[in-house]
Symmetry: C2
Subunit: 71 residues, 2 copies
């Protein structure tokens, strides 16, 4: 399962990056709006961080979408 678990982080990160750049937001601006650190958002977008549900919720709220729309 390890490979698939890595894939979900990559897929999620790519989705976050796509939505963020679509809105023309920098990582720093987006991170600030989420209440998270820029380096943390960078790691999430690269699929390197196993993000928790509360932080997924912060990202969804910043994009003003439901969590389901991030998957």
């Amino acid at each position: 399962m390890k490979a698939f678990e890595n894939i979900i982080k990559k897929i999620f990160g790519a989705r976050v990056r796509a939505l963020r750049t679509e809105k023309g937001w920098s990582q720093a601006d987006f991170a600030f709006e989420c209440g998270l650190h820029r380096t943390y958002i960078g790691a999430v977008e690269r699929g390197e961080h196993d993000i928790s549900l509360e932080n997924i919720k912060k990202i969804a709220d910043t994009f003003r979408v439901d969590i389901a729309e991030l998957f």
Copy 2:
């Protein structure tokens, strides 16, 4: 935002519990299928644990649904 973050854990936990009991699975059986510990699943279902994306994926896979269907 703190209250809303707690709410998302409660909502997610209730959804997991509803799907699990609908299938007639015990927490122990479900946890085993997920590759997680029974006490961990119990805490997730009570909304006490800030579950990570990889473990959300394990739960979705065990239910054979997409992650979006858990939200």
